[in-house]
């Protein structure tokens, strides 16, 4: 369990993270989603006890990250962003080293078990400098898993991996989520959508939305655009729809009309259907345009950046 409570982290004058609050539950994967420079890494560094918060509080596994740093470090497994490793060691030696620092018993068995889990058994005795990027990433992941931590914090674990490895890793993260509290950051929304039980969207150091992927979709995409298909003159149908008071814009798109409402929270479908039928069109289809979280994410983050610029001006 991770609880972040009005957390702020400043670097000099720059607030990397401003007054954020969220939780990550046990037995769930929480996605931490945001564009470059949003404050994901900063937040994770506070949560792992690497750097202290400027103000606010955070509890990890029930321990305060600042007051009880040693306890936090015991229960957390952390994969830092660019996966720092000792290139002169082999994966096995590296894990044995970390295990000894952690004071783990049965280090050998644990090291072998986690190497198997990340699919690296075959290369466990090659020098890390000779491994590929994806393999190094997995060494880092094995290191995070070594002590069977209650909480896993993974900073962009899929970056730089090939598509197959990305799939494997997502699967592994989803599996791990059943036993652990997993917080993982990404700037790929579809990834968060696939793997996470909950998504926290951060931008410019502030949280702009959070919830289950479904809830986010509903919350953010309410009353989006509507797609209409009719039997008959499409251009005439478009004109009818464009004339409706609630419609901002109606445009042709191949064999259908895409209607944008003036008020994004309104549902256009009943009005549109009624108007068209009143005019004698044969209705083939009236549906909400499939909501793509990616679009929403891009729009949201752009909007925030715009708002910030205005603030500054």
């Amino acid at each position: 369990m991770i609880t972040v409570d009005h957390l702020t982290k400043r670097y000099g004058d720059v607030a990397a993270v401003r007054d954020i609050s969220f939780t990550a539950e046990n037995g769930q994967v929480t996605g931490f989603l945001g564009p470059n420079g949003a404050g994901k890494t900063t937040t994770m560094r506070v949560l792992t006890g690497f750097t202290p918060p400027t103000s606010g509080r955070a509890l990890v596994g029930g321990f305060d990250v600042f007051e009880q740093s040693m306890n936090v470090r015991r229960v957390v497994g952390y994969l830092p962003e660019n996966v720092p490793l000792y290139r002169d060691l082999t994966p096995y030696e590296y894990l044995m080293y970390l295990g000894e620092i952690r004071g783990l018993r049965e280090r050998k068995a644990r090291a072998q078990a986690v190497l198997a889990r990340v699919g690296l058994s075959a290369r466990s005795n090659s020098r890390i400098r000779t491994l590929s990027k994806g393999m190094k990433q997995r060494v880092g992941l094995a290191a995070a898993l070594l002590h069977d931590p209650q909480v896993l914090i993974l900073d962009e674990p899929t970056i730089g991996l090939d598509p197959l490895q990305v799939l494997e890793l997502r699967q592994l993260v989803a599996e791990l989520g059943r036993e652990h509290t997993v917080l993982f950051s990404t700037h790929i929304l579809s990834e968060a959508e696939q793997v996470c039980d909950k998504i926290v969207i951060i931008n410019g150091g502030q949280i702009i939305a959070q919830g289950t992927p479904q809830a986010l979709r509903d919350q953010l995409a309410r009353g989006g655009r509507v797609v209409v298909r009719v039997a008959g003159d499409l251009e005439a149908a478009r004109a009818v729809l464009a004339a409706l008071p609630a419609v901002q814009e109606a445009v042709l798109d191949r064999d259908s009309v895409v209607v944008t409402p003036a008020d994004s929270s309104a549902d256009l479908r009943p009005d549109a259907a009624q108007a068209l039928m009143a005019q004698g069109f044969g209705l083939l289809e009236v549906r909400s345009l499939a909501v793509n979280l990616e679009d929403i994410f891009i729009e949201l983050t752009r909007r925030e950046v715009g708002a910030q610029k205005e603030e500054v001006a």
């Binding site: 006890g49 830092p80 720092p84 490793l85 000792y86 080293y97 290191a143």
Partner: protein, 258 residues
Amino acid sequence: MSALWAVYKREVALFFRSTIAYAIAFGVLLFMGVLFSATVTQFVANNTSGFAQQLATADMAIVGMLGTLAFLMFIIAPLLTMRLLAEETREGTLEVLMTLPMHDWAFVLGKFFAVWTFYTFILACTLAYVVMLAGMGVPDAGILFAGYLGAWLYGGVTLALSMVWSALTEDQIVAAFLGAATILVFYLSDALALIANGRGFTAGATDFLRELSLVAHYQETMMQGILRGEDVAYFVLLTVAALFVTSVLVGTRRWRAS
């Protein structure tokens, strides 16, 4: 404790696998060996006979050799320590270590004991020259014991002093230069005290400078076979102080996190 031991073992292994570390050790031993033979040859040429003369020669040779080693520490120590902490910062592995359940001081001590161990290895190698002297007569045990104990402590303190800079900067070259400068200041503060004396400085200030000096606590005492508790205390305290500062500086990495 397990953490300190783990860091120590890894670092010792790195030293004994490092070509550069061996190159430094070889350079030092070669330099000292040449000076040592020169001293011995010179004395043998001047004093053709007499057991007492031979003994004096043996003692002179040892004292000269230890003095050379002590002087060279302003180069050796920074070369051995510059990598220790700077590299972890640069490679980002510090972020891994600092999120493990390990105290900053355990990490710093593990590193320090490792480099001190490698220095001890170099010092032990110089005993080979002492063994060679056996043919000329047994050197004074007091000089041998106090001199070597002092050399060992002297190494520890110079290593600790130069390690401070490795914690402060991630640039190894900068760390080495600042380390050398720091050791020179402690080496020369004896001479500075002499200069300051009678030039408007209070007696307290010049005494302080003298007390701070490496030379006053080694070259003038232990190296000559005079074992004094205050000299040992000086080395231990200064080493502990330097390690404490290093440990604090490593901690501030958390605030300066890059």
